[in-house]
């Protein structure tokens, strides 16, 4: 069972601010979702056959990427070709 304290902690880790009211709203929702997983766990049989799929590689060959303009096209804040982010230090 997930408690309100757990939800608060997860919100903190995910960097999402939630209110006291939302805590009360989300906690039962978390538990409902987890109950679905319990249900899935009770189904007999195995997962689809991706289990033996290993060693998926590509060669070390350069592929052209995006230009700086393209890379920055969707960002609201930029400066001299950099993405601009809040102060972190």
């Amino acid at each position: 069972m997930v408690s309100e304290r757990d939800v608060e902690h997860i919100a903190e880790l995910a960097d999402i601010g939630i209110t006291k009211d939302e805590l009360g709203e989300f906690t039962p929702q978390f538990n409902e979702i987890l109950e679905y997983f319990d249900l899935l766990d009770s189904v007999e049989g195995t997962s689809p056959a991706t289990r033996d799929l290993t060693n998926i590689f590509r060669d070390d060959t350069v592929v052209p990427g995006l230009s700086a303009d393209e890379a920055l096209a969707n960002t609201p804040e930029k400066e001299d070709g950099f993405f601009k982010a809040p102060r972190v230090m």
Binding site: H9, T54, V63, A68, F82, F83, K84, M89
Partner: protein, 509 residues
């Protein structure tokens, strides 16, 4: 991440007041090296970004755009396996990537793809020259991960206003090597890093000359001698510091030395040391406390659902390792007649060892050449903060040959070398050694060339000549000195002595 400088909390516990001479330093390292592949770990972006502007080596995958899928660079896995094998590790039958979740602008996806509970390899070792002879340093694990982006903090160093982000570095393949806490001094830590660097460069998987290609975190604590061995962990009141952000080889020794002094002072004052993360400030040579609450992280690791596991243990059997530093050292002693000290110096750096191996055989098999490289050349390079790769191989061969053929003296050789290195540092190119000899007029004065100078000096110094005649031996050295001064060291001292003696004695009393 705020950085505060300060002293650790004070405790009234008096039981920790111990004899400091009976303490020992416990150090473990975590080393991150960029693997020298052509493309990033999970996308085809070029890793050759250092001369280019920000965000010019990026694509939807390494920018973490929604709907993209990473795909593992096979070369990076092969390189990592080579490292694991050279470090005598066990390769796991199956390993996998995992997500490490945290929020920081250097991670565009909100997580870093790394390896967690199923790393590529575990339990290896690297032998180094320790404080008391050869020492085996155990390797805990070797794993692969992606490099985060690069941050530039803008607007004041104490309290930046905002952050600029460049994702050219994001996704560069890193190898992380974690040691057991087996190192006992900053010097041993430096030796370990030097040996590791040499090994990685011999393997051809890492280029130490690329800026920012190495980062080290160091764990360090001071324990009563024998405690750590006996208990398997540190004393409760002797918490360890994890020093982050060390980005140079010299920085490691500096950061550790500073940290030892700080911890010793705290112990001497009877303070309890809490385990803490500290930050190395390279420019000031100090470590500062990171605000610990903010550093306390729950990374919520889980297996990376976008990547399949690796089953590569069998590959490692097929890897043929090249000659590594220890083997090369033995060969240099046997093949070129090196002293063990010179052999260690020259083979301890892959580029220097290659430089030496590529000398003509007759020059290489010579104690004089070994001394010239190990002492003179490396000393002069170090003094100028230059690398052996700045030195044109042909020029060096010519210089050594000039000395060997007695065209110039050893002393003049040093003068030529200095002039050439200064030119290289200044302009990136230099004249040929023979041209330098001519320009500085350093060709050796010997035999016939010597006699006129001696005659000149004897004519100028009649007092010294008569002193010599009356048996005062200092007068001889004085006259030799005068000739040396006039020829600026271009004469061979042995020959000068002989000719001077003959000239004086032939004059009679």
């Amino acid at each position: 991440m705020s950085v505060l400088s300060g002293t650790p909390p004070v405790s009234s516990d008096s039981s920790i007041a111990t004899d400091p001479s009976n303490d020992e330093v416990i150090i473990g390292l975590e080393i991150h090296c960029q693997l020298d592949t052509s493309t990033k770990l999970f996308c085809g972006c070029s890793t050759d970004y250092r001369d280019d502007g920000p965000n010019t080596h990026v694509c939807p995958i390494c920018l973490g755009l929604p709907g993209t899928l990473p795909k593992v660079n096979k070369k990076a896995v092969e390189y990592a396996l080579k490292v694991a094998k050279a470090l005598n590790c066990e390769i796991l039958e199956e390993s996998e990537f995992a997500r490490k979740n945290y929020f920081y602008p250097d991670l565009n996806k909100g997580y870093q793809i790394t390896q967690y509970d199923r790393p590529l390899a575990v339990r290896g070792y690297l032998d180094i020259e320790g404080e008391d002879g050869e020492k085996r340093v155990r390797i805990t694990r070797v794993h692969m991960e992606e490099d985060p982006g690069r941050l530039v903090h803008k607007g004041g160093t104490d309290r930046p206003k905002y952050t600029l982000v460049d994702y050219n570095r994001a996704g560069i393949p890193l190898i992380e090597i974690v040691t057991e806490p087996d190192l006992r001094s900053p010097k041993e830590a430096r030796r370990f890093l030097n040996k590791l660097r040499a090994t990685l460069e011999y393997l051809g998987v890492y280029d130490s000359e690329k800026e920012g290609s190495l980062r080290v975190d160091a764990n360090i604590s001071i324990q009563p001698r024998g405690w750590f061995e006996r208990e398997g962990k540190g004393k409760a009141d002797r918490g360890r510091a994890e020093v982050k952000n060390i980005s140079s080889y010299k920085g490691v020794e500096k950061a550790l030395t500073f940290e030892i002094t700080r911890q010793k002072n705290a112990i001497r004052r009877g303070q309890k040391l809490e385990s803490a993360t500290r930050h190395f400030v390279e420019t000031r040579g100090v470590t500062t406390a990171s605000r610990s609450k903010e550093m306390e992280q729950d990374y919520r690791y889980f297996p990376e659902p976008d990547l399949r596991p690796l089953r590569v243990r069998s590959w490692s059997d097929k890897i043929v390792l090249p000659e590594l530093p220890d083997a090369r050292k033995v060969r240099f002693i046997r093949e070129y007649g090196f002293s063990p000290t010179h052999a260690a110096t020259v083979t301890g750096d892959w580029r220097v060892a290659e430089f030496y191996d590529n000398l003509p055989k007759d020059l290489a098999v010579s104690a004089a050449t070994a001394t010239w490289i190990a002492d003179t050349l490396l000393g002069e390079l170090n003094y100028r903060d230059m690398s052996i790769s700045d030195v044109p191989h042909g020029h060096f061969i010519e210089l050594i040959t000039l000395i060997r053929k007695d065209t110039i003296t050893d002393k003049s050789g040093v003068e030529v070398l200095r002039s050439l290195l200064d030119q290289l540092k200044e302009a990136g190119s230099c004249e040929k050694p023979s041209e330098c000899v001519k320009r500085l007029n350093l060709a050796k004065t010997g035999g016939e060339g010597l006699e006129p100078v001696i005659s000149e000096v004897l004519a100028e110094q009649p007092q010294a000549v008569s002193d010599y005649a009356s048996g005062k031996s200092e007068a001889f050295n004085f006259l030799i000195g005068q000739v040396m001064k006039k020829t600026r060291g271009r004469v061979d001292p042995t020959e000068l002595n002989r000719v001077m003696r003959e000239t004086l004695d032939s004059r009679g009393p």
